[in-house]
Symmetry: C2
Subunit: 306 residues, 2 copies
């Protein structure tokens, strides 16, 4: 599949109908996943907090994992070594394991599996990984998902305004810095990792209000401040956060580019912002003459450590 076709698949993915059955009996959730297969759990943990959710992006699981724990390992390939290690520990402790994967070893060791369609890069399967969580725990109206699909389809049709933004980044050879805020902290992180993997540029992310307690200090007086280009999102800000964004611009002496999300609900706006970052990083890869699909360093590293 061409990389652009992978991006265009998101509008299909937001209609993915799998759900996890019988979740009521668990009093905590652990979601294990790395990189493109870990971002869904991180984003979801900002949308739902009915029980404690702990994200694991490492080899080891927390001590508290027990038979009352819903343990969700996510690995698109099913062969991510950290996730396999974590899942083996969770099984040993009697946790209920429901794996999200397209196959691999993970689908063999897990009793319950949410099967994901094959053929994508892990980072292009975010919708497939996020939807079963959203459907199971948030139970959105079908209309909301239809609308989200519509917004994504529109963006697939015309995203030239996003290419202009990418050209701007490239002209400045800017390092993108994305400032998130709840429930979009991990959308900022997603943008950062998409800049990394698609555009092959380093990027940074942090979030309000925490960054106003430390990262704001160097803004007016640091060296090399001219190389950063700052972004945040324009939607769902509580009044206190809106004030902080304005004040951070003013005190920091920086311009924070605000990406206005379209959509009538948080779920629609969430996918709009995710997709915006997909296209922004995609266009930046193209203007830089880089293949957005290529992640040779990850493959080299995997070989080297195996």
């Amino acid at each position: 599949m061409e990389f652009l076709d992978e991006l265009r698949d998101l509008k299909v993915q937001v209609k993915y109908s799998a759900i996890i059955e019988n979740v009521e009996v668990f009093n905590k959730i652990v979601i294990a996943g790395m990189g493109g297969s870990g971002i869904a759990g991180k984003i979801f943990s900002e949308l739902y907090s009915g029980v404690p959710i702990v994200n694991v992006d490492d080899y080891r699981i927390p001590d508290f994992v027990d038979s009352s724990t819903l343990f969700i390992p996510m690995s698109y390939s099913g062969n991510t070594e950290e996730v396999l290690s974590a899942t083996a520990q969770a099984l040993k402790k009697g946790a209920e394991v429901v794996a999200f994967t397209s196959g691999g070893r993970l689908s063999e060791i897990s009793k319950r599996v949410i099967k994901l369609p094959k053929g994508l890069q892990p980072r292009s399967s975010l919708g497939y990984m996020l939807l079963p969580l959203i459907r199971t725990f948030l139970d959105p109206q079908e209309e909301i998902l239809d609308n989200a699909a519509g917004l994504l389809d529109e963006m697939d049709g015309d995203n030239s305004y996003i290419r202009e933004e990418a050209e701007h980044i490239y002209r400045e050879k800017a390092i993108p810095v994305i400032y998130g805020f709840s429930p979009y902290r991990n959308v900022a992180y997603r943008w950062r990792t998409q800049f990394n993997e698609n555009s092959k540029v380093l990027a940074a992310s942090s979030y309000f209000p925490e960054l106003d307690h430390n990262e704001i200090v160097p803004l007016p007086s640091t060296y090399r401040s001219e190389i950063f280009r700052f972004y945040t999102f324009d939607c769902d800000m509580p009044e206190a956060i809106r004030k902080r964004i304005d004040a951070t611009e003013s005190v920091g002496g920086i311009k924070i580019n605000r990406i206005e999300a379209r959509g009538k609900s948080v779920i629609e706006r969430l996918f709009y912002l995710i997709h915006y970052g997909d296209y922004l990083s995609y266009h930046l890869s193209i203007v830089r003459g880089k293949d957005p699909r290529d992640v040779t360093p990850i493959e080299k590293l995997k070989k080297m450590i195996s």
Copy 2:
């Protein structure tokens, strides 16, 4: 107090003897804190996982908070608006609130308070905030804390080797990038925020193994890669992480400076590494001709939004 005296206070703080009584009855912990008053909870959540710990650095608390939740608001001043907002919600939900503070409004609204000595910057009170958590949940031998104090005392006596590293950063006008790994992910974040507040330079942090799934991709081919100076820690690495650090250097074509921690236990090494970052950011402020104590942008912002 001179800023250097504040740094030197850490060896006193690691002997702080306060503990939280009767924690056995709670099945989850929420720790709320911002910036220099939030880092203790973040570091602690890597050391203990007997029950789920959720860190809150925002105005709102998770839905799951209830009367079985130990809620620990940390605010050195006792007047941090995010923490006061979060604490009011926790009280309303019947959580057991044990505040860590030197006074302020927080000490008035909380029934149980761990009182912290006054006179420090919040970021210089990390030991006071971390020790009651460590003593309560990890119950370390007194000898370990004595040894930690001894190591910190030695560093207070001679830290010229750390000044050299700071001079190196300044010569290159480098942006420090700190790669952590468990249980030192948030020590990397602490370094980043100390670079922000003390040195007035932007810094980045991320962690193994997650960064090998995204951030490694741009390293060999990004623009502006020469401006970063990479750090990691040399202690307590599982073999898999050690391999990854080596492979990341090799595949990424970068040098990762490894800071070897001294100390016979994780707690000693933890404080050694924290203190190393304190001095590194302190010396960088001095070679840059900046006052390490000054956090005018934070104060300006607070005025602007109040």
